[in-house]
Symmetry: C2
């Protein structure tokens, strides 16, 4: 085991040492709104001749800020092509909860949520670098809800990962349209998700025969993956509701990697 | 990524090719009952000079049968020292649910559950092959409940993994005594665990500030890790309640491995 691990680490180090991360702003338009997302990939691993799995990254309700972009870079370092997508419009970001609530409020419960995300997905799959059969979407908070909505719309996704996302119960129609496996990473004591909302979500997953994994992380509250969450909480009077949790961050990322390993290269013996 | 994976697989294959799995029956006594467990380890990786993490394996309510022993062997192949423990008495196994219920019924709600498991744990740590700071316990069904009880008793465990275990809420006393991190692998539609039991369990985990991860696997019912569960269910009129689920089996094993990687070699940045 030790030698296996050592070899693995050596290979991982070698791989990371030879990485050449490329970051490209991509301008596009959806429903009259000018948007700008960011395509991120490792130029030494990915090319038009060597397409890789693609991962759409949907930001928190603050908009496409540095945090969301940093997650895209982390995904690119795994060897995937990431697209940090823009939901609000070029350069529209905020650090103020009232404004964030207003921006996110345009999408909840409306077809626009999936449609705007699909516009970003098209930029990812249209990059020419992505294997169209191996595409996933991940999202944080508002973005977690968005990737659920995107899957419910029937988007060609192998899987989605929701990190501390709001939970949208799946309708029967969504269950029929959905193609994605779900990994839901949830803060066990997130005060923004009520027990009855959680129950309604998992009930709809079971009823719709979704292939899902739902993970609760002890002590984790809203935004547990964001290292800046404590400062954000302080500035927005959200202390106790929003906060970073290093263990839950690390564990949910490891679970995402295991999930990607499965959905991007299914084991021959895999059963649904 | 691909080359990393290839190297990793090559190393894993090499490691498995050179494995020399040793299986030793171990006779011991607890509270007047003669017991016989099985110590399993890889003789090429582990020795008194090269101690390894130890893993106690607690069987389903059927007793120490081939399934439990096969899990110990799988654990040994990961490079750990496994002890498949005997809860009932030497050779006491059954395939009949009435008898199993009677056997398991001796332990539920009684100190004997943790005490009998601790007797097995002493065999593991007393083997001379185990690093006493890196010990975990895993268990299946009844065994899942048993490893919870063992942790609640204050046993020196870095972690426990419960696979489709009955869920025992932690008392305040248990929370104080507990030293283990918890990974709870649960079948999302297991009809033997009522929603209120699940809620009481996680509530006690949160109240006691346990470091836990609770994972629900879609479509999985009781005994989802046991490839023979369907046959067992048929013979015992438990179809629909007990059954194998290959995806949940594979995923929960992967989650256990990630959990072991963490608790047996904590990341420097790890926070509780």
């Amino acid at each position: 085991m030790k030698s296996t691990l050592a070899l693995f680490l050596a290979a991982a180090l070698a791989a990371s040492a030879s990485a050449k991360i490329v970051t490209k702003p991509v301008a596009y338009t959806h429903a009259g709104t000018a948007l700008e997302g960011v395509l991120v990939y490792d130029d030494e691993k990915v090319s038009a001749d060597k397409p890789a799995p693609g991962v759409l990254v949907v930001p928190e309700w603050w908009g496409l800020n540095d945090y969301a972009k940093s997650r895209a870079t982390q995904v690119a370092r795994l060897g995937y092509v990431a697209f940090a997508t823009d939901m609000y419009g070029k350069g529209v970001v905020t650090t103020e909860k009232g404004k964030a609530s207003e921006l996110a409020g345009q999408f909840y419960g409306k077809p626009l949520m999936a449609e705007r995300a699909a516009a970003g997905l098209a930029q990812l799959t249209g990059s020419g670098l992505v294997d169209p059969k191996r595409v996933a979407a991940i999202g944080y908070c508002f973005g977690g809800a968005t990737v659920q909505a995107l899957a419910y719309s029937g988007a060609p996704l192998a899987g989605i990962v929701s990190f501390h996302g709001s939970l949208i119960p799946a309708s029967a129609e969504a269950a029929k349209a959905n193609k994605a496996k779900f990994l839901v990473c949830h803060g066990a004591v997130d005060p923004f998700i009520k027990p009855e909302e959680l129950a309604a979500f998992t009930k709809s997953m079971d009823a719709g025969k979704f292939d899902y994994q739902f993970v609760s992380y002890a002590g984790a509250i809203h935004a547990f993956t964001n290292p800046k969450a404590d400062a954000i909480a302080k500035a927005n009077d959200l202390v106790g509701g929003v906060g970073y949790n290093a263990a839950a961050d690390r564990r949910s990322w490891a679970h995402m990697r295991a999930f990607f390993a499965e959905i991007f290269a299914p084991a021959p013996a895999a059963k649904k």
